[in-house]
């Protein structure tokens, strides 16, 4: 029924106006945004641990944007093993790029370009780290 986040919010407002406030609650967060956020946090920690501070800052910028889009939901951190070296970090960046590219192709939200930007940024990181 609601194929975009905007459509969902407009639908929620309509339902609320009709007195159907319980049905209008948004109870699930966007799975693609959540996955991208967890990967961004993990890559930020990994890049920082290996001294790639500017790249870590890119990931923190992604994370801040994703957190803003997911509000009012809050996503807990997940423990993940940090990459052992630059090669492992480059591989993690490439995997994160593929994940975001897939989200760009399959998302039902309005965020195809956002996921594409994150995929492109991670691909660039992988190339310069390798």
């Amino acid at each position: 029924m609601f194929t975009t986040r905007r459509g969902l919010l407009i639908g929620a407002a309509v339902l609320a106006a009709a007195g159907c406030t319980e049905q209008a609650q948004i109870i699930t967060s966007d799975a693609d945004l959540t996955a991208a956020l967890r990967t961004a946090r993990s890559l930020a920690r990994g890049a920082e641990a290996l001294g790639y501070n500017e790249i870590a800052e890119d990931h923190r910028t992604h994370a801040a944007t994703l957190e803003r889009l997911l509000r009012p939901s809050t996503i807990e951190d997940e423990e993940a093993e940090a990459p052992a070296d630059a090669e492992a970090l480059a591989a993690a960046e490439a995997a994160g790029s593929a994940e975001a590219a897939e989200s760009s192709m399959t998302t039902l939200s309005d965020y195809a370009v956002l996921f594409g930007e994150i995929a492109a940024s991670r691909a660039a990181h992988a190339a310069v780290i390798a």
Binding site: E54, I55, E57, D58, H59, T61, H62, S97, A101, S104, M105, A112, V113, G116, E117, A119, A120, S121, A123, A124, H125, A127, V128
Partner: protein, 137 residues
């Protein structure tokens, strides 16, 4: 003009600019410029294959492109940085395409162009980190 048309036009312009500017460069930037020109040619060929596969006519390149005066290596570096930014911004815009085949193609080209932009910036001593490659400021 479709997103792929726009991307192909940007790739044509990039090939022209590299052909004109690479001779002004030396050392690592020259080596990379030649490699990137080859990559732009490969992307152009992939796009032409896409047009052939879909039975549509590909836009032709312009007879020439205004690249200004390339007096020295600094001018060549500035021109090629602008070219890579333009190509990346063009493919980024294409990711909004609603057709899935077109979106996939633009997505692949966008990632490849972001990689080229980062490698070029690294070669000329600029910061490579960029959370939103090609996003208009």
């Amino acid at each position: 003009m479709s997103a792929v048309d726009a991307g192909l036009a940007a790739e044509y312009a990039a090939i022209f600019a590299y052909s004109a500017a690479a001779v002004r460069l030396d050392g690592d930037p020259r080596t990379l410029a030649e490699a990137l020109e080859s990559e732009h040619r490969s992307r152009r060929d992939t796009l032409l294959d896409h047009y052939a596969a879909t039975g549509t006519d590909a836009p032709a390149p312009a007879p020439g492109y205004d690249v200004g005066v390339i007096a020295d290596a600094a001018a060549a570096q500035e021109l090629l940085t602008g070219v890579e930014l333009n190509v990346t911004a063009t493919w980024r815009a294409g990711v909004a395409a609603t057709d899935p085949v077109e979106r996939r193609l633009c997505l692949d080209m966008y990632a490849a162009s972001a990689v080229s932009l980062a490698r070029w910036r690294l070669a000329i001593g600029q910061a490579v980190a960029d959370p939103w490659p090609g996003r208009p400021e």
